[in-house]
Assembly symmetry: C2
Homo-oligomer: 279 residues x 2
């Protein structure tokens, strides 16, 4: 399969590119550029699933809610995304997607709600935490780290993450963290990259235990609090992220992430349940 | 259709009852006992969708993650729930469900992840807020309110919700609230009732604006932090709930809810995106 991407195509657009191969059917291909431990970066997989709906000729409105369920590792190579329009109302639309690989079957499913948003009363109950400006901070070195991380410019206003070993802290540390996230190569923020940003937070267990453990996102839900006009206002400015986790028990933990525009607008809130292996 | 429920059947079990009518197909019926504004209480609908998987002969493990998407109002009467086993791994299982009514089509979809949970390192980063004991508080009067509310004993440790009019506060109030939740008629906590509890929090806009507005949950995701043994330990003891919301914009707002056992264990965390109409 050939992707007709120009030499100037952003690697994120290459990684999430889809070809139409039939009614409600798309074909894509994993990108080594966004490789993680044992498969593609989950944020790229989620964005590819969302793209299948964004690109669908019957889609209207902008993403409001998106849930991805990761059923099995995505293996290197081609995949198909089957899309089903579940229901279209006057101003909302419901979709279901499946990512399937020939050799291993269904690797991920997703549901999405789109909405045509209109002006209303508005209120934000929380403010973006005070933090040093992106420009005042040093880019975090991702040298020798996984491929997907090379595409992001992470800047940490508080504790810079250390290279972690396998010996955990004697006492659990905080699960909270703050980070500026920006594309290394400029790309205006859109719904796809915002969704991927929501999956860039490092595993909470790494923060709490100060050590590496095998982890994997099982299910991830993101709510979008912006429409296309709001997003366009962001351009390629960095996004501020705050993440936290509440509980680690019997092999699974939660994670919550908030993504803010630099002028303090809450762009998206995201939640995930994560498998971990630690005795 | 006849439900063979005894006279002693708890109304929640009647409301969420399903009959097997084929491979992967169940039939249920809405219950006037759990009626809300314009359809059944969303927590009962979500629990019914979860029951279709819980009752499935191929199901293993306990619910880890559950997302319900509400596509259209459920109308009074019968519905079918079609269940698809998406993928079963060694210790996790992925499901997809659709609730369909003959006259109106697909009214709700859901995805669920089940897991066989095993002992692991465990840690809870937050503690249940200090609050007066359930027994020390007065049950909130639900007289004249919607049918579903009659089945719960809500007790508010802080501000007791007032009967609301239609004139909003001059200044937005807090979106945070705390509440004890218990079944009016005793029923041991299980995954179905815990899921329903997660949808009992009153709309955040009512708290913030001090007035009533049309609202409706669009999508709701709940993560379970307990297995069957953990839940059994709760018995029919009341559950403590804390809820919050971060942003109201262009017709939609988020809501987060935490559910705690009375001894301070985080049982479930839940998130939803809610439609509202307010200028």
């Amino acid at each position: 399969m050939e992707h007709r991407m120009g030499v100037d195509t952003h690697p994120f657009d290459t990684a999430t590119a889809l070809q139409v191969v039939g009614d409600d059917m798309f074909v894509g291909r994993t990108s080594d550029d966004y490789w993680n431990f044992t498969g593609p970066f989950g944020g790229a997989t989620a964005a590819t699933l969302l793209r299948a709906t964004m690109d669908h000729p019957r889609r209207f409105g902008t993403p409001l809610s998106f849930t991805a369920n990761f059923c099995a590792p995505v293996t290197k190579g081609d995949f198909r995304i089957a899309v089903r329009e579940i229901r279209s109302n006057r101003s909302t639309q419901h979709w279901y997607m499946e990512l399937v690989q020939a050799d291993t079957g269904i690797a991920a499913t997703a549901t999405a709600v789109f909405a045509q948003r209109r002006a209303s009363w508005g209120h934000q109950t929380i403010q973006m935490p005070h933090a040093s400006a992106f420009e005042a901070l040093t880019p975090w070195s991702t040298q020798g780290m996984m491929a997907w991380m090379q595409h992001y410019d992470f800047r940490f206003p508080n504790d810079m993450p250390q290279r972690l070993g396998t010996t955990p802290n004697a006492v659990p540390a905080s699960a909270r963290s703050q980070v500026w996230i920006s594309e290394r190569r400029s790309r205006p923020l859109d719904f796809l990259s915002l969704l991927a940003f929501a999956d860039t937070f490092f595993g909470r267990i790494f923060h709490v235990r100060g050590a590496m453990f095998p982890i994997g996102t099982v299910s991830m839900t993101t709510y979008f609090h912006v429409d296309a006009d709001d997003l366009a206002a962001n351009g390629d400015a960095p996004v501020f992220g705050t993440a936290d986790g509440k509980v680690f028990t019997k092999g699974f933990s939660d994670q919550t992430g908030d993504l803010w525009s630099r002028d303090g607008r809450l762009l998206a809130t995201s939640h995930q349940i994560v498998y971990f292996r630690a005795d």
